[in-house]
């Protein structure tokens, strides 16, 4: 049966193997969520603009991205770019780029729902005051859309944090890879995987708890 020995887990090991991976996972999560949110918001604006071609292009991008498994996007991008351009772009850059592009599709749908959740009367009121359509969007619609969707945005970010472990496909050194490496070196792969699961669970659970608290706070303010 499973005979667990966690004695190899020391601060030394954490510092040597895990910290670097943890930092990369967090950085990837932050960059992908911020980048994805900005580009996703632009995609949502295009989708909801009256311009048919622009809306169709945005819809095509979003639907395509959402129909392909993330791990395939990660792999394709990493393998295709050197083929097309002739030089390699590096594992980390490839991961950042792919995640921003992929998450943009999901955040676009979240922001589209957010913009639609703001009543049309708000836009009319903004326009009636003399604000341009762009100012109305920026000053009145988007702040409300963003606030309405904040809990969903954070939830998506937690999912994103878990998804960053898929960079194993291109060999990037993230949190999971840190544990796997340590497990191999100390000959304790089962314990290492188990510990990785516990850490991912604890971080995600703590973040979910934070989002729930945030939700109740927003509910009071409104």
């Amino acid at each position: 049966m499973l005979d667990l020995d966690l004695s190899f887990v020391t601060l030394e090991l954490m510092r040597k193997f895990i910290l670097q991976g943890f930092v990369f996972s967090v950085q990837l999560t932050v960059v992908a969520s911020l980048g994805g949110l900005v580009i996703g918001t632009l995609l949502a604006i295009c989708r909801l603009s009256g311009w048919k071609t622009l809306a169709a292009l945005s819809a095509f991008y979003v639907n395509t991205m959402r129909s392909i498994p993330l791990v395939m996007v990660i792999l394709w991008f990493y393998l295709l770019i050197p083929l097309l351009t002739g030089h390699s772009i590096g594992v980390e850059f490839s991961a950042y780029f792919t995640f921003v592009a992929f998450e943009a599709a999901y955040f676009s749908e979240i922001m589209r729902a957010g913009i639609s959740s703001v009543s049309p009367g708000q836009k009319n009121a903004a326009l009636a005051l003399g604000l341009t359509p762009a100012q109305s969007l920026q000053q009145v619609i988007l702040p409300q859309a963003f606030r309405n969707m904040l809990p969903v945005i954070f939830t998506q970010t937690i999912v994103l944090f878990q998804d960053t472990s898929l960079v194993y496909a291109i060999g990037a050194y993230d949190l999971l890879k840190g544990f796997v490496t340590a497990g191999k070196i100390y000959g304790r792969p089962e314990e290492a995987y188990l510990l990785a699961a516990v850490i991912y669970f604890a971080l995600s659970w703590a973040a979910s708890w934070g989002v729930k608290r945030l939700e109740t706070r927003i509910a009071i303010v409104r």
Binding site: G121, L127, L129, G130, L131, T132, Q135, Q139, V140
Partner: protein, 244 residues
Amino acid sequence: MIELKHVSKWYGQTQVLNDCSTQIALGEVVVICGPSGSGKSTLIKTINALEPIQQGEIYVDGVPVHDPATSLPTLRSHVGMVFQHFELFPHLSVMENLTLAQIKVLGRSVDQATTHGLKYLERVGLLAHKDKYPAQLSGGQQQRVAIARALTMDPKVMLFDEPTSALDPEMVGEVLDVMTSLAHDGMTMMCVTHEMGFAKRVGTRVIFMDVGRIVEDCSKDEFFNHPERRQARTKEFLGKILQH
């Protein structure tokens, strides 16, 4: 001040405004009434181009609203509008609601905009609530802030789209009081409302609409004092709402 010439509008196949013409002079308080679906809200929204028209001409202070070359933001900054559901911006404080457009549209400094905003907030009697958020105010208070917000832009004319319809009965009075004092100050006003008491007290003219047409357009005295000269449709409507 405002001139509508043969204005027609369609939503797809459905005609919602049918050859509407009227003029509003400086300082007039025109009350627009009629059954729901008669096009009165749509008509008032054509004046600041929130509702585009397909036929006819609209001039506000000489500016052709129907002309695609007209800058709508500039036009709208001169035309105040108050909505049925207040439409204060819930993510901004009362003061920020009052200053946003002054700063972004009129280019006023924060100080100027704040001073101006406080002046109108005092006028509607809500100075004590300047730092609150809209959700912390009652409906009547929200609508008074909305009126103050429109006034901070120093509009040439004020449009009211059923300003008291969404209010609890006991809050209607405070909003009508603000509107009455505005009318007494000589503001040009167009007001879609079912408040016939307000129309009698402060209106100068009454427009009655039905199925997208202007059925009556006459002075207040003529409208209320000579029911025998009204169209059959107007009599029927007045009979229904004045009984109560």
